[in-house]
Symmetry: D2
């Protein structure tokens, strides 16, 4: 048995669990990429509502119950993201690594340092 089999990746484990969860409930027909993109966007909206009236400082020091509520909203985003990737046959971890490489090219350290500008304005 290889190391990879001993230590399944968190994203792969979630993907498998979500796949089983949907299959048991016969939810596959609802889980089109279009619908999942909507659900993900709805959860992102719920997440943002926790922060809309907070100052930057307040957002960085949430009281414990609020922080736990935020953690579960973030989990919702992740669950829909992982499920959507599975339905589309996309390797999310691989896509993230490829996007990181793109970002590294777009935002060279010496140009991007201390600046929040988009890459096409650097």
């Amino acid at each position: 048995m290889s190391a990879a089999e001993h230590q399944p990746d968190a994203l792969s484990a979630l993907r498998d669990e979500l796949r089983r969860f949907a299959a048991e409930r016969e939810w596959e027909r609802f889980h089109t990429p279009k619908n999942l993109a909507m659900a993900l966007s709805g959860e992102a909206g719920e997440l943002i509502e926790h922060f809309q009236w907070l100052s930057a400082e307040q957002s960085a020091s949430l009281p414990a119950p609020e922080r736990e509520a935020v953690a579960l909203e973030m989990a919702d985003v992740l669950l829909y993201l992982v499920r959507m990737a599975d339905v589309l046959g996309i390797d999310l971890a691989d896509a993230a690594r490829r996007k990181m490489a793109i970002n590294a090219r777009r935002y060279p350290v010496e140009l991007a340092r201390g600046r929040a500008d988009k890459y096409d304005r650097l």
Copy 2:
């Protein structure tokens, strides 16, 4: 060396890489939870734009270039999600497992089968 050290979790690896990426560019002061929630929501908006005029069927059979564009948008959502979790000190994989357990209780198989209703309407 343990198996866990040989096979670091994809989410932990991304978290560390994003932390380094932000530090090198002195972006920490932009990366408040509030701002990252906004960035995540903006990326969710970009993702949804790929699907807004597609039928359910079209959304499930994207042409390869479109599918790759979608993969990179999904990567953006993941990157901001992982970064936001790091800044908030939230263990994303753990939150996802806890949310899965909540969902399992909210959506019992026998009640939820074949239905898209929210748990409070089951």
Copy 3:
């Protein structure tokens, strides 16, 4: 008295009422453009949740209570949009007319007919 004074525009009336509403509650300091953009986005997320699992057909024939809930979510989006425009000193109706003119140039009837493609792909 001119006709315009007899028939104040719905958007201007809402703007004035929202301004008074915020002033009475001393909410001006929360109503930065940044925060209002977040609130608007959160409401857009709540709106989308009503539609995420519906087919196109179902979305066009909502039961009355659901349709009323949707109407109030759409109202929330409008209220934050009008309030945000006021805070930014933007004339929303004028911006809409200007954007319509841009869209008319971007989507000529003969090129855009029956197609959902973005203007840069026509």
Copy 4:
């Protein structure tokens, strides 16, 4: 001719123009409530991207070109909102007035003054 006929409401005028715009391009079949909710959410995402890295103060004093770009993004949100209301047969101005009345009850001046809490926490 009444004053109301001389001074058509901006929202009604937009609704009629959007209806004609869609009909000329044979876009009605794309304009399901579901799809329009997605398009609206996508535009809200584009709007928020303008503000994500700004401080509260910066967001309130946008340079003129940025402010114009924001105005046009806000116009996009309004256009989809008005179009969606038309397709659903919802009177947007009326829904906004009804929601304002609800908000006035939910947020009594004496309880809500200076507080950003949601009504169920007042």
